[in-house]
């Protein structure tokens, strides 16, 4: 059924629209138009028109108020979600005494960039950014390389062991991170990988992999098997069909999964705390270091946190279209 067919024909009998055309609504002049059949039928037609017009205007008004309400709700939700980040951002521009004001203030009384120079000038900050990027990229690649074939196998072959595997993959998410963090740190040290981004990336992959497999499974489920069969008929191997046909279709889903895996690693703190030292310390640990036994440097901490969030915001904006496409991919099954 087309959109035109489902639309109410607001013009009614006097509108004279042909099927398939958008309905025409006559301008309301307040005067019944004169015509050749302006005899007995005229009052009835005018009355119908008026009733329809009122009905249409009522619907429009209803739509408008619903839309306004939705906008208000959306704005409230935006404020609610954005407030913590905005507060962090404003705090990063406050003077030291302003950051600890009692009662707290939202906007700085005096704007300063000193916190940024302090935070970025601190030794090890640049290195920690590079380490965070290295770790997050390696962890994301590892997650995708492992999750895509795993999810594909599970959804396409639908074996009992696959079902057990996908449930078992969640086990690492059910255990408190510290319970696996300490043994992992010991294992990495034994393997000679102590204090390296690779060790931390592997640890981060244990967090992001289960989620990646689940996400990718739902995306693969949404791809009709007919597509692959058609590709196979055209001479593609199973892997060829996966690479040439399925992967492009789920590229939005892969982007979503990559974003989640990247974020999980980029923001992770506990494993980084347990497994990194001089060479591979990541920025979340450096940010936490602004809280010491002697006090908390709110200004520098929030400045570094604000700078650290920029790459993630940019990445999300750049991949926005893919993310939206990916999010709706799993929702519509062919």
């Amino acid at each position: 059924m087309s959109i035109a067919e489902t639309r109410p024909t607001g013009g009614g009998t006097t509108g004279g629209n042909s099927a398939g055309e958008l309905p025409h609504r006559p301008r309301h002049t307040g005067v019944v138009p004169a015509g050749p059949n302006n005899g007995q039928e005229a009052p009835t037609t005018a009355g119908n028109n008026r009733r329809r017009r009122h009905h249409a205007e009522g619907l429009e008004a209803g739509k408008r108020s619903t839309r306004t309400l939705l906008w208000i709700l959306l704005a409230a939700a935006m404020v609610l979600y954005a407030f913590p980040f905005l507060y962090l951002l404003f705090t990063s521009f406050k003077t030291p005494i302003d950051t600890i004001a009692v009662p707290p203030t939202i906007l700085p009384r005096e704007w300063t960039l000193e916190n940024y120079t302090n935070a970025l000038g601190r030794s090890g900050v640049l290195a920690s950014f590079i380490n965070s990027a290295q770790t997050a990229i390696i962890s994301t690649l590892l997650s995708l390389v492992l999750a895509v074939p795993a999810a594909y196998g599970i959804t396409r072959y639908k074996t009992p062991s696959g079902r057990v595997f996908i449930m078992a993959a969640l086990v690492t998410r059910m255990v408190p991170p510290v319970a696996i963090g300490i043994p992992l740190a010991s294992m990495m040290a034994t393997a000679g990988l102590a204090d390296t981004p690779i060790a931390l990336s592997i640890a981060h992959t244990t967090i992001s992999l289960p989620l990646s497999i689940w996400l990718m499974s739902s995306f693969f489920e949404a791809v009709p098997q007919d597509l692959e069969e058609a590709a196979t008929v055209d001479g593609c191997s199973r892997l060829g069909a996966l690479w040439r046909v399925v992967i492009p279709v789920v590229s939005g889903g892969i982007a979503v999964t990559a974003i989640f895996a990247f974020l999980a690693s980029w923001n992770e703190f506990l494993f980084a705390l347990l497994m990194t030292a001089i060479r591979s310390q990541t920025t979340p640990v450096v940010i936490a270091n602004f809280q010491t036994q002697f006090g908390l440097d709110w200004g520098s901490m929030t400045a570094l946190a604000a700078v650290y969030s920029i790459p993630v915001i940019l990445l999300t904006l750049l991949l926005q279209r893919k993310i939206v496409a990916g999010m709706t991919l799993g929702a519509v099954k062919g």
Binding site: Q134, I182, A277, R279, A288, T292, Q293
Partner: protein, 425 residues
């Protein structure tokens, strides 16, 4: 090929190249050092605040001995986990660790004795309570790097105000001055609690201050020398009742007030006095309403005399390091140049001579009261049990929070005794 496809491909190739580059150089950007790898370098694990304290010493050490010092900074809350993890694995990424005093009993088996550094001369120059704490099971296992204690900080400008002086004299019958007894402290707190201001704070979310009152009342804190739980004795009750009595001259919500909150309240000019760690005096922000208006006094004496609970950090050498000689060289260096910590942003040391060197200089007015408090005859460190942190977190702080919220002190102390006994079993 459209330009869009070109850009996509370029981006993909570029991204892949960066990824490969990053992966191939995945040895970390922070530096090449690993524990014990280089003959003339060591790694020192410190709490983030401790780095500033030791940075100057490290530079001096490099000049004197050619030893390169790399600092591994971690936040306080994560440091204990990290130490536990590495000590239990038997492989450590550091050669020297700065340990909070309460952790010494927990890690006594993982660190090396450094008895040779505790000469008679050294012991004379370290506060008695710290010498006692550094010795665990007959061996000295940590060299104090810096220490702290609570002193009294008060608003000099308010105390010197003529109207305040005359009003106070008229109301209480004696002159307004820095308090030397707890009765005076109570009176002054009550006097300044007006017009949106409070006389002092009560910290319900930390236990150290209450422990100092217990020591002043003449008892060991929580455990006696044989590790018997004595938290329900008369001194503990007296200390708790006094502590709670101050809430009427303190900002509301005492149960949630911790060190940071109390420091903020004082720096913002909301409280006239605070019992606080001495380092805070030098950390008052220059743009704070109270900057330049703060006076200092030693911790007040109770029936047992002046008492505070020191907050020292010790440098220890793990048994698992392969770089023992250099590690000990650094610990010795840190002791010899201990006064350099005073020049840091935190301005603390551990040797008596280091504090005395600065005590008469402008800007270091907190040192005399600090020395007096640390030398106080009732001053004592926290009980040496590896369960101490657990006792603090699960028993003492919750008990204090209930007490300042109006709970019955005798009942709360009796309950606390049972809980601590269960923890120590």
């Amino acid at each position: 090929m459209s330009s869009r496809i070109k850009i996509s491909r370029l981006a993909a190739v570029g991204g892949l190249s960066i990824a490969v580059l990053l992966a191939s150089t995945a040895c970390g950007a922070g530096g090449p050092a690993t524990s014990g790898s280089a003959a003339s370098s060591i790694n020192v694990l410190v709490e983030a605040g401790g780095h500033a304290e030791l940075a100057g010493v490290a530079e001096q050490c490099k000049k004197d001995t050619g030893l390169d010092v790399n600092f591994v900074e971690l936040p306080y809350d994560g440091l204990f986990n990290r130490l536990s993890s590495e000590f239990s694995s038997g492989t450590v990424s550091f050669d020297v660790a700065a340990l909070d005093s309460v952790w010494l009993p927990s890690f006594k088996d993982a660190v090396q004795p450094i008895d040779e550094m505790f000469t008679d001369e050294a012991k004379k120059d370290i506060f008695p309570a710290l010498v006692k704490e550094a010795e665990v099971d007959g061996h000295f296992i940590g060299m104090p790097a810096w220490t702290n204690a609570e002193i009294i900080l008060y608003r000099k400008d308010l105390f010197e105000d003529t109207k305040n002086k005359s009003d106070f004299q008229a109301k209480y019958g004696y002159a307004l001055a820095a308090p030397t007894t707890w009765k005076q402290y109570q009176d002054i707190s009550e006097f300044f609690t007006k017009d949106g201001m409070y006389g002092t704070d009560v910290k319900g979310a930390v236990e150290t201050e209450w422990l100092a009152h217990v020591l002043q009342a003449g008892s060991a804190a929580v455990l006696d020398e044989n590790n018997n739980v004595i938290i329900d004795n008369a001194a503990h009750k007296e200390a708790l009742d006094f502590y709670v009595s101050m809430t009427k001259s303190a900002p509301p919500g005492a149960a949630q007030v911790d060190w940071a909150a109390a420091q903020n309240l004082f720096n913002q000019g909301k409280t006239a006095m605070t019992r606080f760690w001495a380092h805070a005096y030098r950390q008052i922000p220059k743009d704070a309403p109270v900057a330049g208006k703060v006076g200092t006094a030693a911790m007040i004496s109770g029936s047992a005399g002046v008492a505070g609970v020191p907050g020292p950090w010790y440098l220890s050498v793990p048994k698992a390091t392969k770089n023992t000689d250099n590690a000990k060289k650094f610990v010795k260096c840190a002791y010899e140049h201990n006064s350099m910590g005073i020049e840091s942003s935190l301005g603390l040391a551990s040797r008596i001579s280091a504090f005395e060197k600065y005590q008469d200089q402008a800007g270091y007015e907190s040192f005399k009261p600090l020395i007096q408090t640390l030398n106080g005859n009732a001053t004592a460190t926290r009980p040496a049990t590896e369960k101490w942190q657990q006792i603090v977190d699960t028993v003492l702080v919750p008990m204090l929070q209930k007490a300042v919220a109006g709970g019955d002190s005798a009942t709360l102390l009796a309950d606390a005794k049972k809980q601590i006994q269960a923890l120590l079993k």
